[in-house]
Symmetry: C2
Subunit: 338 residues, 2 copies
């Protein structure tokens, strides 16, 4: 894409359950190269790390730079991330990822560059705050509507991590003793609005005799699960079951997000994630409308925005985590001058 | 109580819908005198302010000090508080309180001392954080289980106020399209667990033919509503309807508080409020047990504590808000020395 890049370059890798996406950015966070591969479905963490190293090399190739020129590489990973140790545990959607794996150390060994790891939802929230739709605000709630429902919180212009696992808006109880969630609990927002839960529900209703084209569209496009694109096609073709389930998801999101706003009173809400980005503005407005009846401070509903970085938010957020040369040099020169 | 008080003295007034409580404290927040009167049920904000001035004078008398000796007086008020302006609006439980009223200015005119006003739930949360069960923690959620369900949030050892109205955990949606809340919305936690909502529900079930001694106990004690003490007596005498409604409230609190913990991952939860303090430790443990099935990070549930300051938390929190002489003098001497 660009072969005359100036200044310090960084890499960002968005590790997802379906795809791994890597980018190269410059000082201004301009994307110089992108590469994308499907996430390995077999093997273990070490194989995933090898695939990640491959895709960052492809992104560097696309940007016409050497990986060796990168100041550092940042990773956004699912699961529980220990930022200090650079390790990841509990990444349920990745193959054979049992226990904790030293992802940063493994990638550093493969690539010869410093690597930092953050949680995928947290880095995507930070990206929206620093570069995207959240730029004007000091506090915000990022809601990522995809396979699950992820959430990230920015307060006083900083990510709020709690004891490390904050932001789990997907597991807000919106219906006590309600539907079984993919997490095993009952009545979670994600049990009504997560794409995985919506697919389970669609299959059940379809098997129970309700008509839907969802699974036919899925087969036609050679998929084995209901992607965001399949949901969109079914909605556009007026599929009643798809409409029913998406309407239910939107209403659940409205209740769950309004509850979070009642608690935190953030300045804005940002909607991202696979389904959020795919459905876009009209659905962001529908979510805002479904929030309104539940907002306790109802004379100043917070603005609800579509994620400004679209699908790239995860990789850009990862790149924001990447270790840099700059600050360290400044610190040293500061010490020499002082 | 004490007539040889040393150092700087402050007043605190907890303005409630039922009672107004005032205290005098010293530098160490030791309570030197207490007074309590019923909240006026007629008149308007000006009459309430006059009653408040009277009760702080009674508390000063009890402490054997002059109101003129107080460095300042703090107030915890229901409704929406503008801290800068010292004004209160939307205090629905107080007589004739329509629009905004300059409570601090009115009290300063009546008492001749500087007055600061904060929201009642916020100051009570701060009191638990600074002086009570929340002392060991950098972050916590205070839940005040009374007529309504109030909430206060401390993050990084500071109250989180959002855009001014944060903490409304009582209006977390725990059941979409559920029971009508006293706020007019549907399915709020407060609609299941607030004492006002529980009384409405008890009346309805009683009128529908269910047996309960709740209203008989109420008449025997000369009350016209179901106080925390009446609920406790009914529970202790094995009243089935009272048990049913309190069980429902505890389960609703478990779901609502767990959702807030999933979002914020605070280090601890503190349970206060009229019903919370009255029911005490066994019910705090029951709430903690009801939270557990909903906690997403389930290997380290946050400790759930009973409010350490009991009924006095509101007045102590108010006293913590009181303007002080000390810091101002220090600042001046700092400037002179500098």
């Amino acid at each position: 894409m660009a072969n005359s890049a100036q200044g310090e370059l960084r890499g960002g890798i968005d590790l997802g359950g379906t795809k791994i996406e890597a980018i190269i950015v410059d000082d201004a966070n301009t994307v110089l190269g992108i590469a994308r591969i499907p996430t390995p479905t077999t093997g273990g963490p070490s194989d995933v790390a090898t695939a990640m190293a491959g895709v960052i090399q492809q992104a560097a190739l696309a940007a016409s730079v050497e990986v060796a020129r990168l100041a550092g590489i940042g990773v956004g990973s699912p699961g529980t991330v220990d930022r200090q140790a650079g390790s990841v545990s509990g990444a349920r959607n990745l193959p054979g990822w049992t226990g904790s794996f030293p992802l940063a150390a493994k990638l550093e060994a493969l690539l010869g560059r410093p690597v930092a790891v953050g949680n995928d939802v947290e880095v995507a929230t930070n990206a929206e705050h620093v570069l995207g739709a959240g730029k004007p605000y000091d506090s915000l709630l990022g809601v990522f509507w995809g396979t699950g429902i992820g959430g990230g919180i920015v307060l006083e212009r900083k990510l709020w991590l709690g004891r490390g696992g904050a932001g789990e808006i997907g597991h807000t109880v919106i219906r006590q003793n309600g539907r079984r969630c993919t997490c095993g609990r009952r009545g979670c927002l994600e049990a009504y609005a997560g794409r995985a839960a919506m697919e389970i529900r669609a299959r059940k209703l379809h098997e129970g005799g309700m008509h839907t084209d969802l699974f036919e569209i899925m087969s036609q496009h050679g998929h084995d699960r209901l992607t965001s694109g399949i949901w969109q096609r079914a909605i556009e073709s007026g599929d009643k079951l798809a409409h029913k389930l998406v309407d239910r998801a939107v209403s659940a999101l409205g209740a769950g997000i309004a509850s979070a706003v009642n608690l935190l009173e953030v300045e804005a809400v940002i909607i991202g994630g696979g389904l959020g980005v795919r459905f876009g503005h009209p659905y962001v407005e529908r979510i805002a409308a479904e929030m309104r009846p539940h907002l306790f401070v109802d004379d100043r509903p917070p603005p609800v925005h579509l994620a400004g970085l679209g699908d790239l938010g995860g990789a850009l957020g990862a790149a924001l985590e990447a270790p840099r040369r700059g600050p360290a040099l400044t610190a040293i020169s500061g010490r020499l001058d002082g």
